[in-house]
Amino acid sequence: MEWGLTNPCVSNGAVYADLDNDGDLELVVNNINEPASIYQNLSRENNASNYLQFRLRSPKGNRNALGAKVTIYTKGSLQYQELMPVRGYLSSQPLTLHFGLGTYTNVDSVQIIWPDLSFEVLRNIKANQRLVVEQKNTKPWVASAIKKPVLFEKVKPLITHTHQGYSENDFKRQPLMLSMYSQSGPVLAKGDVNKDGLEDLFISGDQSNTGKILIQQKDGTFKGIDKLVIGDETTSAASAAVFFDANGDGYDDLYVAMGGYSLFEPNTASLQDLLYLNDGKGNLTLSALPSVNASSKSCVRVADYDLDGDLDLFVGGRVIPGKYPLSPSSYLLENKGKGEFIAHRFPINGMVTDAQWEDLDQDGRKDLIICGEFMPIKVFKNTPEGFTDQSSQYFSQEENGFWSSILVTDLDNDGVKEIIAGNLGTNSQIKVSPEQPGELYYADFDKNGSIDPIFCFYMQNKSYPFVSRDELNDQIFPMRRKFISYKDYSEATIDRILTPEQLSSALKWTVTEARSLLFRRDQGKFKKEILPIQSQFAPITQILAGDFSQHHQTDLLLLGNKSFNRLKLGTMDANYGCLLKAKGLGFEYVNQGESGLSVDGDVKSALQLRVNNQNYLVIGAFDQPLQFYHLK
């Protein structure tokens, strides 16, 4: 079907109104330097669809009943509108409320709540008329707070802590990045520091709080360890942490990985991770670590990879501050027992965001599954001789994504584990596919000592640079001479921006998949399944699995959002806690009203905490108070 809007013009305002009183809404558009356009709506002429309109009148005062709320019920569905004709500066729509009814010719009932908070109910209204309703004989309306049972009950935080991040602007350092990397906190980790059976909590610092460990008391309150300050957020930023027994004494020690971006320089103390060893009495002291400061880190994952009886670490490299998008260093920290580590560089192409240890080939050695930005999900097989990239044995094709989190778990209780991988989602301008990939070209094109990253993706079957002419000129001065007008640049593709020599010397990252996915094993290989559309509304940074809906199946809870992006990309914060209920082999999104989740902000950490024999979900989001949900 054609819209019929074919006249190209510059418009800066529009209203809709049923000008010909036939039950559909015409469009009036005002155009710059041209007469206004009126588009007659032919819906009623062409389709036999139905409608119902209301014109509300009050006897006095607010005579047009502005602010009235009208709900119409038709065979199990409802529609709701408020009478609010104001549209923008000095603009208004008609005072008529218009409801389209599709095939329904009758409305079961209509509830009108008048601005003075009195209400009335009209029943059995015929469609296709404009109903003029005078306010009379109405009854006082009281908001009925019907409390439905929810799966997650939002509760007053058991720990009062509001994250207060530094206001960084990473684009002042590298203007062509797609998003910022400074916002890494708050980092949460749980452990049992004093071995009293109660879970204790690490919370990273920020501009107002120091990093601290809170010890859970018998009464369910939390108390900080005296004089213990973890990390220095004025010169560094914690980005991941884990409690584990580093020295084999049975007590939890703490590893804090440093990340962020800010003005941090690689190979300086700002990016050096910290290890705190527990003396067995619940006192933690800073202990030596080898140098692991070449990059900003994203994750710390624990496993005894060399089967020598102590716990080793994989630390993922997120980004090199100032050098996006070069591959940062990741590390394998080999424990020599007693918490002394040897650092091995773990070479990976791409910017690692998450990793998991899992013995995929069941040879008794845990393999490493790694995901990241501008890279596929990778599987490194753990052999006595070292790690070998065996991704192609597990994936029939590379799924290059903006991967931001990964979970490996057996969702369907068949003894074979699945991979759940969080990605950017599809609710952004960036659309990618294997046929039309997003491509990031990078090199020091103008040879001035800075990396020039140019991201391109397809628009209407052609790949254009995402970066504007002004931004490109600001990054590469000689471009001013190349594209002398905006018009000229508007049609430029990467092969015109770069010379053939520059293009051939450029490095390139590719993205072909932006959706968050589930991978199930099928004859050894991981086969992708696309998670429900609600999972794709925002980037997914935290994935939790559990029987949240108490039906003896494993559900998924996806948390995320990403607000610190280029202005042109905008804020991606449409995830309020996406609960996916297992249903057979599939998943079904649970409405926020039923799940009870209304998570605010960019989620950086999430964990389940047991306090007073009750289970809580604790969520740490950037610049937000800690959010607590009680699990039923």
């Binding site: 800066n12 002042k172 350092r173 103008d446 001035n448 000592g449 990054q475 001065f477 001013r480 002398i484």
Partner: protein
């Protein structure tokens, strides 16, 4: 006898007028460069840099022929003599003139526009009867020199500007913050990292400290702000004319509803380059001296901007518009649009004073001239008794225009005078007589 002599002289002058004078192409060539910079909205510090490189080759050509003209290699830091051994013979004045355009063509964002001016110059030469060989030789020499200058220009750290941390306005009272109506980003916050020609360092002539910031109505700062406020409120027609004349804002934004229109104008440096052209012509300086004066003016401008911009992003001082609206009268607006960078010191005061000293040295004090630079921008011509008078007026115009405090102007003049005198000493030391 007397009559005869007079006749003789007048007939001589007629022959002179018929003989093409290379100086007549100099001013149009510099102006062609100016026009491209106006088109490209080149910001004031960058404009001074471009002028300097455009004239450097010309000066080098001239110094090769004239012992009285010092080579730029004796003035400009790290500038080495070009290897011109591949050239057999060429007319140095033609090469010098063409080199101005050719360097501009290579270095300016829209340098391609100068191809037209190069063609015009060649046509003029042909009209004058210059042989094709003479023209080809001059162009070849100019191209070689321009390439040499461009290579030198790539080592001045300009290319590194895009690798530096972008400016963030300093949070806190008293610091510069972007101003209406454009709220444009700070212009060239790292300009102090650009290599100066003659100054040892960007802070060699750091100005006196500014008046201490305060909101207290009895403070000195309030007083200097109140002076700007009062001046703007009771602006006399005379002061209004002076402020408008010296506006020199390369891109003033006019808003009307949702519409924004940018008006392009000559930069302060461009204005002084043109005054230099006017003065050298009026003073009938030789081609060689004219080139030297233009080139030295350009380098003085460049070094002055580096010195001034170093201070601007040291003190990061709040503009009168911001302070007055916050503390005195929220409806007050300056006559001129506040330029997008910190207030202290006044750039026009620094560069005008420095250049006026240099021009006074070369051409003399009490040199009356008529400045018609702003005529193409629909402003009248203006008469000045001397370069120093013009510079003093340019400096104080910023107070009348409501964009600078008095200490910023006076300290800026002192800063400019120091730079100007230093340049003069350097030029003398390089052998200028």
């Amino acid at each position: 006898m007397k009559r005869f002599l007079l006749l003789f002289f007048s007939s001589l002058s007629i022959t002179w007028a018929q003989k093409p004078n290379p100086t007549q192409h100099l001013q149009p060539s510099v102006f062609a460069v100016t026009m491209v910079m106006i088109h490209d909205v080149v910001n004031p510090p960058a404009a001074a840099r471009f002028y300097s490189y455009c004239l450097m080759g010309a000066q080098e050509f001239v110094s090769g022929q004239d012992k009285k003209i010092p080579s730029p290699t004796l003035l400009a830091k790290n500038f080495k003599k070009p290897d011109l051994s591949s050239l057999k013979s060429y007319d140095y004045a033609m090469a010098a003139t063409y080199c101005i355009l050719e360097t501009g063509r290579l270095i300016l964002p829209s340098g391609y526009m100068l191809e037209e001016d190069e063609k015009k110059l060649v046509d003029a030469w042909k009209q004058e009867g210059k042989s094709q060989q003479l023209i080809d030789e001059a162009i070849a020499a100019a191209q070689l020199m321009a390439k040499h200058v461009i290579a030198y220009s790539t080592t001045d750290q300009y290319g590194k500007l895009s690798t530096r941390l972008r400016y963030r306005p300093i949070k806190g009272d008293g610091y510069w913050y972007p101003t209406p109506p454009g709220y444009m980003e700070a212009v060239e916050p790292h300009w102090k990292t650009i290599r100066p020609f003659m100054l040892d360092t960007c802070n060699q002539f750091a100005p006196k400290r500014p008046v201490t910031f305060s909101r207290d109505t009895t403070s000195d700062f309030y007083k200097i702000a109140y002076e700007v406020y009062k001046e703007g409120k009771d602006l006399s027609p005379e002061h209004r004319a002076i402020a408008s004349y010296w506006d020199c804002n390369p891109f003033a934004i006019n808003t009307s509803g949702h519409m924004m229109i940018g008006f392009k104008k000559i930069s302060p440096g461009g204005h002084w380059m043109n005054i230099t052209s006017i003065a050298t012509t009026q003073a009938k300086l030789s081609f060689n001296r004219s080139v030297l004066v233009l080139a030295t003016t350009a380098m003085t401008l460049h070094d002055s901007f580096i010195s001034c911009w170093d201070e601007k992003y040291r003190s990061n001082r709040i503009r009168p518009e911001t302070y007055i609206q916050q503390s005195i009268d929220k409806t007050w607006q300056p006559l001129l649009q506040t330029p997008p960078f910190p207030e202290y010191t006044s750039g026009h005061s620094v560069v005008s004073t420095a250049v006026a000293e240099v021009l006074t040295f070369f051409i003399g004090d009490d040199f009356a001239f008529t400045d018609n630079t702003e005529v193409i921008f629909d402003l009248p011509t203006r008469q000045f008794k001397s370069f120093r008078q013009a510079a003093a007026e340019a400096a104080v115009s910023r107070l009348y225009g409501g964009i600078h405090y008095r200490d910023s102007i006076e300290h800026g003049q002192e800063q400019g005078r120091n730079i100007g005198n230093y340049v003069i000493a350097r030029v003398k030391k390089a052998g200028y007589k």
